[in-house]
Symmetry: C2
Subunit: 368 residues, 2 copies
DNA sequence: CTGTTAGCGCTTTCAG
DNA sequence: CTGAAAGCGCTAACAG
């Protein structure tokens, strides 16, 4: 699976790889070792360390000294066995995340939230539904967060009737009984088109997720439905002419789609694009010598991070991925804690006006 | 810690959060349950499931059926207790990774490698040295990979004399006895300057990591030394005039640094930049109306992914982060497996000629 | 070919 | 205030 960016990488190895005998670990000190060292019983050590019953200050000090001396730390594994919990959460992600920046926001926010609640975050890429179930059943993790969910998602169907806690970032076809955190994509796309319409644009282009308009697409993302609803609502309300151009949501395909779009529909004065496609759109316009926003406006639906990177900075409906991830993690933590949570949280959309939109040219010359 | 991208996010919650009594988990089936169901002993179940001794086909089938019926999966926690291993690795990263794209490459490659060896990857952000030791001592993880290492790195010093396996992606001041995987930054920066020199450039700009030239900087990254060596070697060899401009390695600071540089040294016809700063450099040149590479060449030292994104695509020395991460994970897996590995791997640098470099307007190429 | 048993390190009754 | 002992679920050594 390891992709190569280079010729076969003849790594220069200053190899000292001493192939010594498999060292059997000098084993870690246990609670018994501490007890022996302090001249008390194991349970006394235990209670001294987490004060669930009173200990004479003198004994307590001896225990603490022994802990210090032996560098003792209670084995998390043994604790977990006893408590029937692994104190870890799983983040289930596709092997190739749609966007690095988005994935990183989700990841760091989730890891920080889990960590603050003394849980470990494990990441699992590209797991089949029964592998996910296996993770849960073997108590590798107490619960999972699923991202990039589809309308018909076999992972969700596998989990739906199992007794394990999980939460979705995203939505799916049948939401009954699920705990989900999502973003109001309908409003997001409505706002994107609405913004351009209010600036006076009438002929727009829309880089639409590939497969979104294809009813037979089984794998399609649930949010694509909302995407289309938002776009249609704005189109109708403002009487817009919109040219659709499908693209996989990455830079390269956004680039190609924008080239097709501008070739086919030269009257377009504004483009709406999401994911990472905006970067491709901007590149296409640049290569044609069209300035943004003077010759063409662009609106994105993407993370603030991406929007701030581009030249010019992108007017966009920013995805609040950190907040969504924190919320999802907190919900999951409550569920693994035994609480019966069934909450469906929807984060609202706001448009952030940056540098990539302007009113269309008043007179549209035929030639450039 | 949760950063806000939006106004206070009044999330619309279709709340059904039934605050029911903390449900005590209907406990998972154990090996005993399976044994009872199949009418055999626990050890028979165990051996039937991992064939370490022969079982009559008839009994074996009964066991398999029972497993099926009860949906049994051996508890990873109990196994781990017995084997004194957690079968998980930790990736220790700074809270704010220097680059999303780079971090994602490291992360996905590491997770995939760990996963292929039946290990879990836990990610730990922003851990203090003794927290890392705690992780290891409590057997949350069997070993760790450290990234973004510094010349004087307290994390490394803490681990150096502890008995726990770890590997570095990067280097540090005292490398004796450590297992490390790194990239030849000296050669990388040499090649970047060398490339521009051979194209005929004489006046160059260098967006240098902030703190790299400051001898008192305690936190400085080890690779900055190599960076400076490579740059100096090229400067001397080709008799270059180089203007240094320090920047934190992100887009915004790269942008500011490039503006300062071009204001101060208008004769510069080529710029070398690393991390994410190139994106800022390109933005600065764009805003000044200078075309790349016609008016100014730019060379990066960055991941292929970033280099392919920019407009124009960036000539760069690409960091082979996937391969480095796979190598680091494999070394760590060998170490946690008990092997006495002390290997220091250095990946070589190659320049990839994309679209952002050309000979300067005035001069002709150097003859070498 | 199969069953019994001890024990991993910790927590928590139950006794004193 | 402290100790002894049982048991979480699994594995492997030790009987048959």
């Amino acid at each position: 699976m390891q992709l190569s960016t280079h010729p076969p990488a003849p790594r220069h190895s200053l190899a000292l790889s001493a192939m010594v005998k498999p060292t059997r670990e000098a084993h870690m000190p246990t609670i018994k070792d501490v007890a022996a060292h302090a001249g008390v019983s194991a349970s006394t050590v235990h209670y001294a360390l987490n004060g669930k019953r009173s200990i004479s200050p003198e004994v307590r000090q001896r225990v603490l000294d022994a802990v210090q001396a032996l560098n003792y730390s209670a084995s998390a594994v043994a604790q977990r066995l006893r408590e029937h919990r692994s104190y870890s959460l799983g983040l289930i992600a596709p092997e190739l995340p749609a966007s690095d920046a988005a994935m990183m926001e989700i990841l760091t926010a989730t890891a920080a939230t889990a960590s603050a609640a003394d849980h470990t975050l494990g990441i699992y890429l590209n797991q089949a539904p029964d592998q996910i179930l296996g993770l849960l059943r073997a108590q590798h993790v107490d619960g999972v967060i699923l991202i990039e969910t589809a309308h018909h998602d076999p992972r969700i169907e596998a989990l739906r009737h199992a007794p394990h806690p999980f939460v979705l970032i995203g939505q799916t076809g049948d939401m009954t009984g699920l705990t989900t955190v999502d973003f109001d994509f309908e409003q997001a796309f409505y706002l994107a088109f609405d913004h351009l319409a209010r600036l006076g644009h009438r002929h727009l282009g829309f880089i639409v997720p590939h497969g979104a308009t294809d009813d037979d697409q089984p794998q399609r993302k649930e949010n694509w439905y909302a995407t289309l609803r938002g776009y249609r609502r704005a189109r109708q309300e403002h009487d817009l002419h919109v040219e659709l151009e499908p693209a996989v949501l990455n830079i390269e395909d956004g680039h190609r789609a924008a080239l097709r779009l501008t070739a086919r529909a030269p009257r377009v004065t504004g483009i709406v694009a999401s994911g990472h496609t905006q970067v491709g759109v901007l590149r296409a316009l640049y290569s044609q010598g069209r300035r943004v926003p003077d010759d063409c406006s662009v609106v994105g639906v993407t993370t603030a991070q991406i929007a701030e990177w581009t030249i010019p900075r992108l007017t966009s409906v920013d995805l609040p991925l950190r907040e969504m991830s924190v919320t999802a993690s907190e919900l999951l933590l409550r569920k693994v804690g035994g609480e019966a949570v069934t909450e469906q949280v929807l984060f609202p959309a706001y448009l952030i006006d940056r540098e990539s939109t302007a009113p269309p040219r008043t007179a549209q010359p035929e030639s450039t």
